[in-house]
């Protein structure tokens, strides 16, 4: 408390401000949202993610998404989040996929052992090939982090142009969740002789499955 007042006083003295002064108006927010069609967004997303060594897949319906995931996991150990969209795609019925846990410790232990972490994503960003995931009771943070392979599924309607569009839709992420995580490609480092190595602490492999939902929306 002493340091608080001390620091604030020093800052006010440095600026020549009185106590209780309100901030002047900040410069206007600068957000630019391009008008890209769904097809353009998909093209950009896929090429950005692939450039980073990630895999972008587009499927026409949830059942196809399920078949694609089954082809990746082949029944090996996977932890899935409680995302409603995974439910829509029927991911939880796949062999080897675990979704229900008694407590956080059990979830964490399962994530540390699993070969795949399967999550939804609230949005994807076309220009950078990113996923945007809000931590929530449906989306645990460690599922997209501990297993060596991350598989994410989302409907194509959630594919935004980029960060600017995300922040115009969600101006204050803190109001919605304790954590908004942007995931842009597989975990990587270049700390030893600037040589690119994937999968340092997070997943070295990432698959994003974008599901067409145009029929459902019409």
């Amino acid at each position: 408390m002493i340091s608080r007042d001390h620091i604030l006083n020093k800052v006010r003295t440095a600026l020549g401000h009185a106590v209780g002064r309100t901030a002047a108006a900040p410069p206007p927010v600068r957000l630019c949202v391009p008008a890209w069609t769904v097809e353009e967004r998909w093209q950009r997303f896929a090429s950005a993610l692939e450039k980073l060594g990630g895999n972008a897949v587009r499927v026409s319906e949830p059942a196809e998404a399920r078949r694609y995931v089954a082809g990746l996991t082949c029944g090996r150990a996977a932890v899935a989040s409680r995302s409603p969209f995974l439910e829509v795609c029927g991911i939880h019925q796949l062999a080897g996929v675990r979704r229900d846990f008694r407590d956080p410790a059990e979830l964490r232990a399962a994530c540390a052992e699993a070969e795949f972490g399967i999550t939804g994503a609230d949005y994807a960003l076309a220009d950078t090939g990113s996923l945007a995931v809000f931590a929530s009771p449906e989306e645990a943070r460690l599922i997209s982090l501990l297993p060596p392979v991350h598989i994410a599924l989302l409907p194509i309607s959630r594919l935004l142009t980029g960060l600017d569009e995300l922040l115009s839709l969600v101006p204050n992420p803190a109001e919605r969740s304790s954590a908004l995580i942007l995931i842009t490609g597989p975990s990587r480092t270049a700390d030893i002789e600037q040589i690119l190595v994937r999968g340092v602490h997070g997943p070295g492999e990432i698959h994003v499955i974008v599901v067409d939902d145009r029929e459902r929306r019409s």
């Binding site: 927010v29 964490r108 600017d164 842009t184």
Partner: protein
């Protein structure tokens, strides 16, 4: 002028062809990566983004008191706590107290220049806590017991052979010289640390006032693990890290990744506000943000040089600096190296601490050209040079003053000499005296500092000394 210049050490760096090659190629690659992603055909509004970033930083610092209070209120509203620290010891005291209160043994850390600046890890280790750096580069540096070589690439100077040596010696693993396998070794060792750590310590790339959020930018996933696995998260950040709104991240995130490593966005960006909420499966149960002053409020007081605090620690100025590219990161006296270090160190640590620093520049201007927040580094270097010369001139004057007082004390301790001199001074000064008061010195003596001194002060004309008066008095008493 150039006192403290680490001449020998620099000569050794220049004479080491292996090191020269490592610095030159690493910084060259980072330059090239950046160039590709800020080119006008790729990012046409790059200059507008820089301008906006600078404007926002300028505005935030001009209103820092209000934004600090807003940030604090927002963190509290989401169940977190804000701790204010004047300096490094106060940060360490808080973390130590927290670690003891929560029976913590193991602390994991993600890369943070601010904690390097205050030597936080060393302070905690001195109290027998295990503290593990988890960024691969930082981990190598910790095992090698060195300090970071570069703001974003801490182990830039290490070859794979050296890393193999460090790992085999410090971790007791078989010697391994392939970076992929070395990375796997680090992953395995550090994974266990993450899963058993009690406290995760991070820095912050940005603090968002309207959300009470800590923003972390990284590629490996270690910062995500540090903030997701342990039950307590402590973020340590300088008070200059604030930005007003989450929406401003659209500008800063675009500039930071591009300027640092040539990435449009780094692999992971975490926007964290408060502890885990109702029903969440993971994330910290306790969330603390430590706001560090550490000399920043002093820098803030200088309207012009305040822009030093705009820095977002991208390291682009290091990569583009012809001096850094030759002498590397360890020849700079403080944790911040390169052009930004040259203007930050003298202001944070005092002008005369390493007075040669602002002079070790050709003023080529490359740093200012690539700075994403447009800090006028070369101009500030010139101003600091002027200030240092002035400060040293002041110190030079002090030297004469000290000499004068030494002479004075020598005379004072020799009573007969003193008496003789004061008698002589009395005779000499007598002619210029005004009713027993000396207004100015006579003739040639009335010059320089003596004259300046007497311009504002009068002295009684020196006459008989205390000893002379005492002798007279005791003689009278005896009579």
């Amino acid at each position: 002028m150039m006192t403290g210049y680490p001449r020998e050490q620099i000569r050794r760096t220049l004479a080491d062809p292996r090191l020269q090659e490592a610095i030159y190629s690493a910084t060259g690659r980072l330059m090239e990566h950046r160039r590709q992603v800020v080119a006008p055909e790729v990012l046409p509004d790059y200059q507008e983004l820089r301008e906006q970033a600078r404007r926002i930083k300028e505005h935030t610092l001009e209103n820092l008191d209000a934004y600090l209070e807003q940030f604090e209120a927002q963190v509290r509203a989401r169940g977190g706590e804000v701790i204010w620290a004047k300096d490094g010891p106060e940060v360490a005291d808080f973390v130590l107290d927290l670690a003891r209160r929560s029976n913590a043994r193991l602390l994991v850390k993600s890369k943070s220049m601010t904690t390097e600046e205050i030597g936080l890890r060393e302070r905690l280790e001195a109290q027998h806590f295990e503290v593990v750096e988890t960024d691969l580069g930082e981990y190598i540096i910790q095992l090698a017991q060195e300090r970071p070589y570069h703001i974003v690439a801490p182990a830039l100077h290490k070859t794979r052979e050296e890393v193999g040596e460090i790992f085999s010696q410090r971790l007791g693993v078989p010697r391994e010289n392939v970076p992929e396998r070395q990375t796997r070794i680090a992953r395995t060792v550090l994974r266990q640390k993450f899963l058993t750590a009690d406290i995760g310590i991070t820095g912050a790339n940005f603090l968002v006032a309207d959300s009470g959020a800590v923003v972390l930018v990284e590629n490996e996933g270690n910062a995500r693990l540090t903030t997701s696995a342990p039950r307590i998260h402590v973020a340590v950040a300088g008070i200059e890290k604030l930005i007003p709104r989450a929406q401003d991240l659209a500008v800063f995130l675009k500039l930071l990744g591009r300027s640092a490593t040539g990435q449009p966005l780094t692999v992971y960006t975490s926007i964290l506000s408060g502890p885990r909420r109702q029903g969440e499966w993971d994330g910290p149960e306790q969330f603390y943000v430590v706001l560090l002053d550490g000399g920043r409020s002093r820098v803030l007081a200088d309207r012009d040089k305040r822009q030093t605090l705009y820095c977002i620690r991208c390291g682009a100025c290091l990569n583009h600096c012809p001096v850094y590219r030759r002498i590397g990161g360890h020849n700079y006296p403080w944790i911040y190296s390169g052009p930004i270090g040259k203007i930050a160190s003298p202001q944070f640590q005092g002008l005369t601490e390493d007075p040669w620093l602002p002079f070790a520049s050709s003023l080529c201007g490359a740093c200012a050209e690539v700075c994403p927040v447009k800090i006028e580094i070369p101009r500030l270097l010139l101003e600091l040079r002027a200030e240092i010369v002035k400060a040293q001139a002041r110190e030079g004057q002090n030297r004469w003053e000290r000499l004068g007082f030494r002479l004075w004390s020598w005379v004072m301790t020799r009573p007969r000499l003193y008496e003789a001199l004061s008698l002589a001074a009395g005779l000499l000064a007598g002619e210029g005296s005004d009713q027993g008061w000396l207004r100015q010195l006579p003739g040639l003596l009335n010059a320089g500092p003596l004259r300046a001194w007497l311009d504002y002060r009068d002295l009684p004309v020196p006459g008989r000394s205390f000893r002379a008066l005492w002798r007279q008095r005791t003689a009278r008493v005896r009579e």
